[in-house]
Symmetry: C2
Subunit: 227 residues, 2 copies
Amino acid sequence: MPKPISSQVKTHTESEENYIKALYHLGGEKAVNNGALAHRIGAKGPSVTQAVKRLANKNLVEAIPYKGVKLTEKGTALATHILRKHRLWETFLVEKLGFGWEEVHDIAEQLEHVQSPEMVEKLAKYLGSPIHDPHGDPIPQPNGAIPPILGKPLQQFATSDTLRVVRVEDAGTDFFTQLQVLNITLGSEFTLASISSFDSSIQLRGADGTLFWLSHSMSSNIYVISL
Amino acid sequence: MPKPISSQVKTHTESEENYIKALYHLGGEKAVNNGALAHRIGAKGPSVTQAVKRLANKNLVEAIPYKGVKLTEKGTALATHILRKHRLWETFLVEKLGFGWEEVHDIAEQLEHVQSPEMVEKLAKYLGSPIHDPHGDPIPQPNGAIPPILGKPLQQFATSDTLRVVRVEDAGTDFFTQLQVLNITLGSEFTLASISSFDSSIQLRGADGTLFWLSHSMSSNIYVISL
DNA sequence: AGATTGGTTTAGGCAAAACTAAACTTTTAA
DNA sequence: TTAAAAGTTTAGTTTTGCCTAAACCAATCT
Ligand SMILES: [Mn+2]
Ligand SMILES: [Mn+2]
Ligand SMILES: [Mn+2]
Ligand SMILES: [Mn+2]
């Protein structure tokens, strides 16, 4: 009475997909150098050189030794599809399961590797075909099109501007934790109180009058519109 | 402007988890021999011997060479937790995304390996804390308890009994396809028309009077209650 | 230009997870 | 109670994906 086994047709490994996603984030169209990719992936140089060779063999990237790596069209299509999954799952986790926006990234990092095109489209429909995720990031469409990228970095605004947060970068758990500490969320409104000419840090005044400083590395990941 | 990387703390590999799940299905408490495990996993003997050594090193199984492998308490706990995830995801895919019950197993095979205890419990709550999945299989509870196992195999009933399908075994895509062809689903009601004494195949009469035969390998995976 | 430095690639290892072929137990049959 | 058959383990390879150390290229500074 032994039972048959299932047929998981995984076309790409998780590692492969992570490299493709990292390349998309770092480069888009442009070539990315070994070091940047290594830092993003969290691996050492030689591991990356090797991984890039595997990706090149599958026509997902084009690489020129000592110069850089670039996604092919096939690679870009894969990248946007993974990103679509990541952001749909984040939306599901926040909207349906009730997670906080700061909790969902790491779980979506796993869910984005589940391979089932039918499920992705059923999930999208179930969520109401959203075009932005809980962090305000655009959700790539099935054809690869990218919806509008909301807002501009805080740096690009001037003192006394009234601002609304419309997007934050997926920049890891520590960043989100810090956002939560500062009570900053999508839709939060602030007045730009001052900008340090020394280290580009930014002082904001909240709706309740509270004043606080944001380091450059924090504010560069926060995108706002002027009201 | 390189971004930090995420911290996926995968405590078990996918392969490991598949072995644990297979052992649970084949043996439960009892020891399982190499060949049965190999057949279930879809690997050859030596791969299994090797894998079992890795599992034994992590105290997930106890193995006696040439005799068999058995799950430890830790291994059993892991198995039921994976099974819980599998069946909750199947329920989600059918109840929320609108998949057919024959389509969800392979996708759940992937989703069951996503590691986030918080998500599992939020998912369970979101689904209304179900105790049986779309195939009628019991969904293990957070403490490892197994809800009632519904029904008995068709073989155990007699001619002219009136029966209702309450469960089918997860027995692969081909089996589900065949169920669909025969228009058998959870809740379907039949009368047992006859049993072949030659090959144990069973003839059923549907509500509409249709008569059809089920091979032993089909009917042994279909569980019913007598009305 | 020549030398130093930083980034990249090559060389050589290691662990997981699969395989085949060969050796070795255990079971079954003569 | 041996001998054959069946099942399991060992030995040796392969691929993926990571590592360190050493060699190598390219940019920069004197
Ligand atoms: Mn994210
Ligand atoms: Mn996001
Ligand atoms: Mn299943
Ligand atoms: Mn099921």
